[in-house]
């Protein structure tokens, strides 16, 4: 048996706006059939679920996780005065501040609470390039890993031996000298922290052993990286992964199905891997997208809307439906969009307080109704 680890949170961001109506599909609802005359998941294709709902045909593997009682479906999630801009809406999700431009990411603040002195430079690991705003907070170290197998400094150095020599020289020239001044000291410390993070993370793939085969797609690769780092027990508490391409204005039926196949099979492999290593109970996953899409299709796709769906996945999760599916009734739409009925900051509060054991109020900027997706007090 593996020892009890600290709880970790894995984020799966679906960038571009996952179409809620064609993801968790109200396929029996005549209003759905009516508004989605051109871009509809038909009875033949839908994966029936319950409550008159079904899943996108690309979500077969996801359905398995649902059947294992691991998936909480959070219906109608959103925030007041929705933005239909990718950038702005994503920024709102990242900073949990819909009313103004937020300064700090919600997870960056969480990491600061988890490790106030920044003693572990890999408390948060992002799989992808650059830093998602969700993880950005001054003084909070975050490792952003494009590819775990070759992550590190001076990666453009030709030849392994040459690179080793250069790295040795690097750690020497970054060691602050006497009287260098504050700026040079700060650069030195940060550079050495970066080197340290890379040194720590590069151990993970070396230690990793598994019989699980991940599918060959970017999100599955990132999830494999999450497993590798998690198994290596490096003290990472927050993982961030991103799947792109969800902006399905055209070609939606084919695109969304393909993307869900990638995400679903990636998640299934990830869970197989967790089970094989008996390290599942410590993991909770949040799957979210910046907005849902317009109720009415445009003939070949759907345009930016509001009100969406999130998923919380994990062994500690009590599976099922949370909140309510918003009405498709024209009279209850908001500018042609679904009316959101659950504020995402409530879900963040669940995750921060009940999963990571943190003080959520300051991070999400107030008290928000929680949804309690966890099976027991965790």
């Amino acid at each position: 048996m593996a020892e009890q680890r600290e709880k970790v949170l894995v984020i799966v961001q679906l960038s571009g706006g996952n179409d809620y109506l064609n993801c968790v599909v109200p396929w029996e609802d005549p209003m759905y059939q009516d508004v989605r005359s051109g871009v509809r998941i038909t009875e033949e294709d839908v994966i029936p679920l319950d409550n008159g709902l079904g899943l996108n045909p690309g979500m077969g593997a996801f359905k398995e996780l649902y059947d294992q009682d691991r998936v909480a479906i959070i219906h109608g999630i959103g925030y007041p005065t929705p933005s239909r801009s990718h950038f702005r809406s994503m920024d709102i999700w990242h900073t949990a501040t819909p009313d103004r431009v937020g300064d700090e990411g919600w997870l960056g603040q969480a990491v600061r609470q988890l490790d106030p002195t920044g003693s572990n430079v890999v408390t948060a690991v992002n799989f992808g390039n650059g830093l998602p705003r969700a993880l950005a907070a001054p003084g909070v170290p975050v490792a952003s890993v494009g590819n775990l197998d070759d992550y590190g400094l001076l990666t453009g150095m030709s030849g392994a031996e040459q690179r080793e020599k250069a790295l040795t020289a690097f750690s020497r020239i970054y060691t602050p000298g006497v009287g260098s001044g504050m700026v040079m000291d700060y650069l030195g410390k940060t550079g050495l922290d970066a080197l340290k993070g890379a040194d720590i993370l590069k151990q993970a793939p070396k230690m990793y052993e598994s019989t699980v085969e991940y599918p060959d797609n970017p999100i599955a690769k990132a999830l494999k990286g999450v497993a590798q780092v998690h198994f290596a027990d490096l003290g990472t508490r927050v993982f961030y992964t991103t799947s792109g391409g969800w902006d399905t204005h055209t070609n939606e039926l084919s695109l969304q199905r393909g993307l869900w196949e990638e995400v679903s099979t990636g998640l299934r492999a990830f869970y197989q891997d967790l089970e094989e290593h008996d390290l599942g109970p410590e993991v909770t996953i949040l799957v979210f997208s910046e907005f849902g899409r317009r109720v009415k299709d445009n003939g070949n796709g759907t345009d930016h809307g509001s009100g969406g769906v999130s998923f919380v996945i994990g062994d500690s999760v009590k599976g099922g439906h949370y909140s309510e599916y918003p009405s498709l009734d024209v009279g209850r739409l908001m500018e042609g969009d679904l009316q959101y009925n659950f504020d995402f900051r409530g879900l963040y509060t669940d995750l921060l307080e009940d999963w990571l054991g943190l003080d959520a109020q300051e991070i999400v900027g107030g008290n928000f109704e929680k949804i309690s997706p966890f099976a027991v007090a965790v």
Binding site: S83, R84, S85, H86, F87, R88, D91, V101, V121, N126, N129, G130, L131, R133, P138, V140, P141, V142, A143, S144, L153, L154, T155, G156, M157, S158, Q162, K165, A166, T168, A169, F170, R172, I173, Y174, T175, P176, G177, S180, V183, M184, Y186, L187, G188, T190, G191, D193, A194, G197, A198, H249, N298, D303, H304
Partner: protein
Amino acid sequence: MATATNIGTELDLIAHLLRRTGFGSTPGELEEAGELGYEGTLDQLFNPGDADPLPVDLIRRYHADHNDLRIPPSSGSFWMYRLVTTKTPFEEKIALFWHRVFATGQTKVIQGKVMISQIDMFRKYGLGSFRELLIQLSKDPAMILWLDNQDNHKDNINENYGREILELFAMGVGNYTEDDVKECARAFTGWTIANMPYMSTKMRNNTLRPYGYIAWQFEYDESDHDDGEKTFLGETGNFTGEDVIDIICKNPATPQFIARHLYHHFVADELPVPQWPFEGPKDPEAIQLMVDAYFANDYSIGAMLRAMFESDIFKSETKRFARIKSPAEVVVGTLRLAGDFDWPTDDVYKATAACNYMGQQLLGPTSVEGWMGGDDWISTGSMVQRINFASDTIGDPDKRGVKAIVSRIADRHPSGNVEPEALVEDCLGLVGRLRVEDGTLNGLLAFVREQGDVDPSTEDGAGKITSLLQLIVSTREYQLA
């Protein structure tokens, strides 16, 4: 020896100037500037020739997406080409300066075309009269929608632009009242864009459909302009937007504020802007110098900067390497040094993305406050990006700029092998006269010694020099300008 030292001193000073007015210097650029001398170089900077960047027709032919400049990778890369290939980098430095102060973001305005037009405007007016610049800014379509001035109506004002022109663009907190904000907003009612309802809806919906974005066009809607009497900063009249700008420009707080920004960008890292109302400038004498130049030269930004660059303050040792490079300076400076982008290439997207990953998305500041700069640029994540981008970019001995460095070293050492001390000194000099601490110098020397003999005329030698350059652009000192 004495002569050599003197030349070195002036060259060091010129290199300092070129780091601030440009993106550092290639060996060729520094040689040319060295021949002109410091004053001559300054003359040329303020009377530049043709920018002669990579031609736009070539860019648009090869990058179909540079035709509409819609999304950030396209618009950012389009600017990146110019940053890297221009012969007049000072113009770009000025554009970057105003982009930071008048921070407008594609994140909200969505279409990059209007952002590129705003940058063109900064290039054209950025060194001229601040009054003219503010008028252009107030008419700039991207700025209008960025700060909601299309919603600023005669009978229902929206204060956003009226506030920010005072707080963030011209004067700073503490130099005006809330009433001034409202009166200022009233003066700018009716400053909008053509087809405002459709354009703002498309922006709000973040949609290129059906046929791509339509670039915005400034429109003055006289019927929506409040031409009633206003009292602004102590003066009363039926002020227009232009009148308000006149009043702003003659207020002594304005050049103080702009001078501090100029200092932050061109002289030495200042405190983050939000602290300015509470902490005075680091160097009040430098600020005063620029304020005097502003009033003596019809509010000329160029005159402020020229006075600064001619002063002993700017030239002093304490101002050398006194700024942390912005990501754009790291990326552009290294690409220029390597001699990249002579021809359209997909690598331009990598460069733009790298800048973004380091924390500066060109045309996409996260908020109207722009980028703070200084040590705000530095985090573990951004350091990995800075070091890897620079060392990767300079790591190809076949690149034009790398070849130029190697061949200069070969010319200086016709007999073959170069001693480690000489090699390190040459390389530091050739990347724009980088000055390093002893600890860094010793680390570089140790690295070179481990490589064994270096003969720059051979392929092996070129490879070793390239490795050394990779390490040099990875140093802490290289992060400084």
